[in-house]
């Protein structure tokens, strides 16, 4: 082991630590650099929305920052019609979430826990609405309602929203159910719980996070929907419809206040949800 040092093919060749040069540092952090640039792109509009909610614009349009003010926050409902539209959006989002979550959760059970003829077809039927552009979904529903003589209004908005939220709920709850070990339910039955007790003490608590996630997704999809609603709202004005309609005539900072508040509420819900999840897992 002394003489062969020069020719030993197994001798470690590179002992000296590589100097961390500037070029190498750049290469290693290039991804992070572009990632942060991407994040900036993602947050720039949100930043604008928040900042301009404290603006006191001179004209009708909230495009240039003139003066810092809480006016828009204190007088949210000063803009005629806006708070009514907000309230309508909340109501519709609530009821379509309720319907979509119930129907979707039940359907998810059928798809995960049962093997049956036509399951493949059912899966496609659930997938296709998510892969259809909103204009097509909205316009096809409009044609149906017109042909059947259903007057456009809150009912048709609710139907449309329930329909397009349904697929998202099913997919979300399905994912949670697939991850649920059936042995847990078998263990409950083995430990003298009948089917009803098993469902309420084991199955439901365990898929609850999935159902809650599905409901939250469904609520935000419904609340934020513009294109489908635009085709089926008749003379009803939801909040996105209000923004669309007013954007041509005026852009009050109160709209930014609503945007900011939505973000804050959503972040609050997500953070609280995570905290609960962590506490439960502990």
């Amino acid at each position: 082991m002394t003489a062969v040092k020069e020719s030993d093919p197994y001798a470690p060749t590179e002992f000296r630590p590589k100097k961390v040069g500037f070029g190498r540092w750049v290469r290693e952090h290039l991804v992070t650099f572009f990632g942060i640039l991407g994040l900036l792109y993602l947050f720039a509009p949100i930043f604008v929305v928040i900042v301009f909610s404290f603006n006191k614009p001179k004209g009708l349009f909230n495009y240039t920052f003139t003066e810092f003010s809480f006016d828009a926050w204190t007088g949210v409902c000063d803009v005629p019609g806006m708070c009514d539209s907000l309230w309508l959006s909340i109501r519709i989002a609530f009821f379509s979430t309720l319907a979509a979550t119930i129907l979707g959760t039940i359907a998810a059970f059928a798809l995960v826990r049962h093997k049956f003829r036509g399951r493949g077809f059912a899966n496609i039927l659930i997938f296709v609405p998510m892969a259809t552009p909103e204009v097509v979904v909205g316009s096809s529903l409009l044609v149906l309602f017109v042909n059947m003589g259903v007057p456009l209004g809150q009912l048709t908005i609710w139907i449309a929203h329930t329909m397009f939220c349904l697929s998202f709920v099913i997919v979300t709850v399905k994912a949670r159910l697939v991850g649920l070990d059936p042995r847990l339910e078998q263990a409950a039955q083995d430990l003298y719980a009948n089917r009803v007790q098993t469902f309420f003490r084991i199955t439901f608590p365990l898929i609850m996070p999935g159902v809650v996630a599905a409901a939250m997704l469904s609520f935000s999809l419904s609340f934020d929907d513009f294109i489908i609603t635009n085709f089926n709202s008749g003379s009803e004005v939801t909040f996105p419809m209000f923004v669309w309609g007013t954007s041509k005539k005026a852009l009050p900072p109160q709209i930014n206040v609503i945007g900011t508040a939505m973000l804050l509420i959503a972040l609050f819900v997500v953070i609280v949800g995570r905290a609960i999840g962590k506490r439960r897992a502990r």
Partner: protein, 379 residues
């Protein structure tokens, strides 16, 4: 059946003509079992042999295609899982992740509305020395601790039969050995009938009073571990429980209790009762550790002797494993395990006499070596 009479009545488990088909696939193909009360019973076999399906049918998690399952003389095969006086320790435990350890253990008692839940749960947790972990969640426990909780959660209900579905499969080797002893201790302490499903023959032999070896949905052989090992009645059992040597031979006659076979002119004898085949062409078997090695021609009288050349020797610490090619038939090899009680090792190339007691010989049907080899691979 009400909660009260779950604990009364005697009698073990009796299974008659149990079948389970999944479409055209037969998972369990006519199983009969008698498990005496208070015994530790193992269902042993490779994966796909039907042992877990059998267990699940006893638990009520699968419905038998045909057959009866009786506990204390009462057919329970049509009852719902929660109506049966049996409890299960599930593979990977199936502890409820959203409940504390205490609530997990109390679950069955609460469903049956039993009095004194707290005291009973505490008592059981103390049995496995885990009382201090009662308020943790299952994910905060180690694998071994979860395993104990799974056992205790089932046992607290005082079932007539406790079913264990590969309960030690997820544990590492050292912990598994430890848990084998602990499960055996618990079983002795509570005196409940345990039915243990496993594919690990060592585990089955360590723990069980009685083993049923299953293969392709049928019981191959049932008996005490020693009987199964020493006198396998089928090639599958011979191969699945440890290694075995099989030599092709012809039956040449019986005199009284002794059956004589011929292996290329060499007489190999065995007790008549240890011959499982009825044909003339047979295979004679002997376990590797039953064979001794002597200098050529120096084997004691009254033993079965086969001469051969050592073609491989591997030293494994406590023992040495030799492979001997027989002189009579170059196709046949004999594996020998010798205890290293002396330091002298035999060398490859030596010609020696391998000998063993006729009582250690067993006989199987022709072609058994192929099945035994397959079973050995599966074990």
């Amino acid at each position: 059946m009400t909660a009260a009479d779950l604990n009364t009545g005697t009698g073990g488990l009796k299974i008659r003509g149990l079948h389970k088909h999944y479409g055209t696939f037969t998972a369990v193909d006519g199983i009969d079992l008698d498990v005496p009360e208070g015994s530790f019973f193992a269902l042993l076999g490779p994966s796909g042999c039907g042992k877990t399906t059998t267990l699940r049918m006893v638990a009520g998690l699968e419905e038998p295609t045909a057959g009866e399952i009786m506990i204390g003389g009462k057919d329970i095969s049509r009852q719902r899982p929660y109506q049966r006086p049996v409890n299960t320790v599930f593979q990977s435990y199936a502890l409820f992740p959203h409940m504390t350890i205490f609530e997990n253990v109390a679950f069955g008692l609460r469903r049956r509305k039993v009095d004194g839940v707290d005291a009973k749960v505490k008592e059981m947790l103390d049995l496995v020395e885990m009382g201090h972990l009662a308020h943790r969640k299952p994910t905060q426990l180690s694998g071994g601790q979860q395993q104990r909780i799974a056992v205790v959660r089932a046992l607290v209900n005082k079932p007539k039969v406790l079913l264990l579905d590969e309960p030690l499969g997820a544990l590492d080797l050292k912990l598994r050995r430890q848990m084998q002893l602990e499960l055996k201790r618990i079983q002795t302490e509570v005196g409940i009938t345990f039915i243990h499903v496993t594919h690990d023959q060592e585990e089955a032999m360590t723990m069980a009073d009685t083993i049923a070896v299953l293969n392709k949905g049928k019981v191959e052989q049932m008996g005490a571990p020693v009987d199964l090992y020493e006198n396998p009645r089928t090639a599958f059992v011979a191969g699945f429980l440890g290694q075995t040597n099989l030599l092709t031979a012809k039956v040449v006659g019986t005199s009284g209790d002794v059956l004589t076979t011929d292996f290329h002119g060499i007489k190999i004898t065995m007790p008549v009762s240890r011959m499982a085949a009825t044909t003339q062409e047979v295979e004679v078997g002997v376990r590797p550790e039953k064979i001794h090695i002597a200098e050529l021609g120096e084997a004691p009288v009254g033993r079965n002797v086969v001469d051969g050349v050592i073609i491989d020797a591997s030293f494994i610490g406590v023992s040495t494993q030799y492979v001997i090619r027989t002189l009579a038939d170059a196709e046949e090899e004999i594996t020998v395990f010798t205890q290293n009680s002396s330091t002298s090792l035999r060398r490859v190339g030596e010609t020696v006499s391998a000998y063993w007691h006729p009582d250690h010989t067993f006989g199987l049907h022709e072609g058994a070596w192929q099945e035994a080899e397959a079973a050995e691979v599966a074990s």
